[in-house]
């Protein structure tokens, strides 16, 4: 990346990035009509089956506002430290003609958005710190229809997506590197999932990102020519596309070539951006207040009620895990990345397990079992074993009443069955044997059976020690306390030497 490493005769440039995110809100019905946002469970998503005269833009229809969609944007605003507007909020028509827009305008917000003026603290691990990113606004609008280009001179339209509540979140031009852009996207995704505002799935299209990038000579305070990059299907694409643009701008600026303000699309396969069109001015959208909707004035009480509903956010939870529970930054990160996993972990600790040990189990064996069933969409809140059961099992390992190996086997079984781990240990006789007398007899028996190996060990072939331990464990079906076996075997071998 020339811009960041430029030295010598070349000018040093500062990267300026702003991000726009569109997220489909998690509502059951559409924004301005009551059509369902998703097909019934277990049904295929057939095109043009979740539509009505309103979302198809038929003449004479009138929109009505989905209360939950308004709430989810306000919740997001609160999570992003925004001011939530209570005086006057307005929907406006954004006018443009395109086959994905049945009415010829999108109902959006422009002059008076629901929430504005916030900020988000974004950890940027690759840069070893965090940056505070200004949030310009989070507003409410409606999604467009899905247009597929058939490649035969025509396109086809599916209106199922038309009118799904969509939230647009815009940052200030505060990001200074492609890595920060990516970190912002990931941090925002986690928050949207935490508060239940959106599934925020880039691949499924419920979260879409556009990056606005420009360069300016270091120390300059005017912005350079800005390019908007679309068609980013992953956070990795976002980072790569920003890197590509930074290099392209730096090169053009060095050569004294003019840059055009335009929209470019990211081509993932080719690893480059391609011009899509010249950027329109906001004027061209001829925004004006939506005459079909009465004004919205969210009450202070409504906002206060939503504030009270706001769950602990990922950053606060990570902080609590590190400072109060003493977890490593890594474990805290793994746990908080998945809200259901974090909730399960909290419940295990709540049930009395030591925080660090519980973290090892939840991020280790428990997550391994969870990942095995990730394809079925299993989340931690759908695991049959109650958090209290895992806490019980952890306590049994800590007290030495079950070996670590057997405990994993018990977890593997109770994870899906929901049985009590202690009951399974009892029923299957998996409890750890800590009876020194019994272990002594088993060690004795092994020494008597494998006399030649014992002789070899004593003559210096010490690697046979592991074999002998294994034989004792085999005789006790893996239940013997390994520490006691070790002590006893060493003592007897050294005795006879």
């Amino acid at each position: 990346m020339a811009a960041m490493t430029a030295t010598g005769a070349r000018t040093q440039y500062e990267t300026i990035i702003g991000i726009e995110v569109h997220a489909q809100l998690r509502t059951a019905s559409k924004m301005f009509c009551a059509c369902p946002t998703a097909p019934p469970p277990d049904a295929a998503d057939e095109p043009n089956t979740r539509v009505c005269p309103i979302c198809m833009g038929m003449p004479g229809t009138l929109p009505t506002i989905n209360r939950r969609a308004v709430e989810l944007v306000m919740l997001t605003g609160l999570a992003l430290d925004c001011r939530v507007e209570t005086a006057a909020v307005r929907f406006e028509r954004k006018n443009y003609f395109y086959p994905d827009l049945p009415k010829g305008y999108q109902i959006s917000q422009y002059a008076l958005p629901l929430t504005s003026n916030g900020s988000l603290e974004v950890p940027v691990p690759t840069e070893g710190g965090s940056v505070r990113i200004g949030i310009t606004r989070a507003h409410l609008e409606e999604d467009t229809a899905r247009l597929s280009h058939a490649g035969r001179g025509f396109s086809v339209v599916d209106f199922n997506r038309a009118g799904i509540p969509l939230m647009e979140i815009v940052t200030e031009p505060d990001l200074r590197s492609p890595a920060q852009a990516r970190a912002y996207g990931e941090t925002l995704r986690d928050i949207l999932r935490y508060i239940g505002a959106s599934n925020a799935d880039m691949e499924a299209g419920s979260m879409r990102i556009e990056g606005n990038v420009s360069l300016r000579p270091m120390g300059d305070d005017r912005f350079g020519t800005k390019v908007e990059v679309k068609n980013l299907n992953s956070f990795r694409s976002l980072e790569r596309a920003m890197e590509y643009e930074v290099a392209r701008h730096a090169e053009a600026l060095e050569r004294g070539e003019p840059l055009r303000q335009e929209t470019r699309g990211w081509d993932e396969g080719a690893g480059r951006t391609i011009v899509q069109r010249s950027k329109e001015e906001a004027n061209d959208y001829r925004y004006f207040p939506e005459p079909d909707l009465p004004p919205l004035r969210p009450s202070q009480a409504w906002v206060a009620d939503l504030r009270a509903q706001l769950p602990e956010l990922p950053a606060a939870r990570r902080e609590r895990y590190e400072t109060e529970l003493g977890l490593s930054a890594y474990d805290a990160g793994v746990l908080t990345a998945d809200v259901a996993l974090a909730a399960y972990y909290d419940a295990v600790v709540e049930a009395g397990a030591a925080p660090k040990t519980a973290a090892n189990w939840v991020t280790g064996e428990f997550s391994r079992l969870l990942n095995q069933r990730a394809a079925d969409g299993l989340r931690a809140d759908g695991v049959a074993l109650a958090p209290g059961g895992l806490a019980e099992l952890i306590a049994a390992v800590e007290s030495g009443s079950v070996s670590g190996t057997n405990a994993k086997a018990v977890l593997g079984r109770t994870f899906a069955s929901g049985e009590s781990p202690l009951a399974v240990i009892e029923a299957e006789g998996l409890g750890q044997v800590s009876d020194a007398g019994l272990i002594g007899r088993e060690v004795e028996a092994v020494l008597a059976e494998f006399t030649s190996q014992v002789a070899e060990y004593r003559s210096g072939k010490t690697q046979l020690y592991g074999f002998l331990v294994g034989q004792v464990m085999k005789r006790t079906a893996g239940r013997a306390d390994a520490r006691l076996v070790n002590d006893e075997l060493r003592r007897r071998l050294d005795e006879g030497a």
């Binding site: 019905s29 539509v51 198809m56 597929s148 679309k230 899509q276 207040p289 009465p294 919205l296």
Partner: protein, 97 residues
């Protein structure tokens, strides 16, 4: 008088193809409309709040409860062109928005 360029720009945004004669006509007519609207500036509105809506209601919200959509057959009944279960439209290469 608004410029020819403005007329052409507005026509392009509305996806209207105008002949030279129509551009002349629109230039005159749109200018007259704007001049008429200009006259509203003469009214003293210093004591009137900005008004975006004359509906005497606010906070009219709908609960997030889905209702049955219309049938696909009904949804596509008025489409001039169909392609299977979809509406068929001309491909526009410039990306939207």
């Amino acid at each position: 008088m608004i410029s020819r360029e403005t007329v052409e720009h507005v026509a392009a945004l509305a996806r209207l193809g105008l002949t030279e004669a129509e551009i002349d006509l629109m230039q005159t007519q749109l200018s007259h409309i704007l001049e008429t609207i200009e006259r509203l500036r003469d009214v003293d509105t210093s004591s009137v709040d900005p008004t975006a809506s004359v509906i005497a209601l606010e906070n009219v919200l709908r609960d997030d409860v889905p209702r049955a959509p219309i049938s696909r057959r009904a949804a596509l009944a008025n489409a001039p062109l169909r392609e299977g279960d979809h509406l068929r439209v001309p491909t526009i290469l410039e990306e939207g928005r």
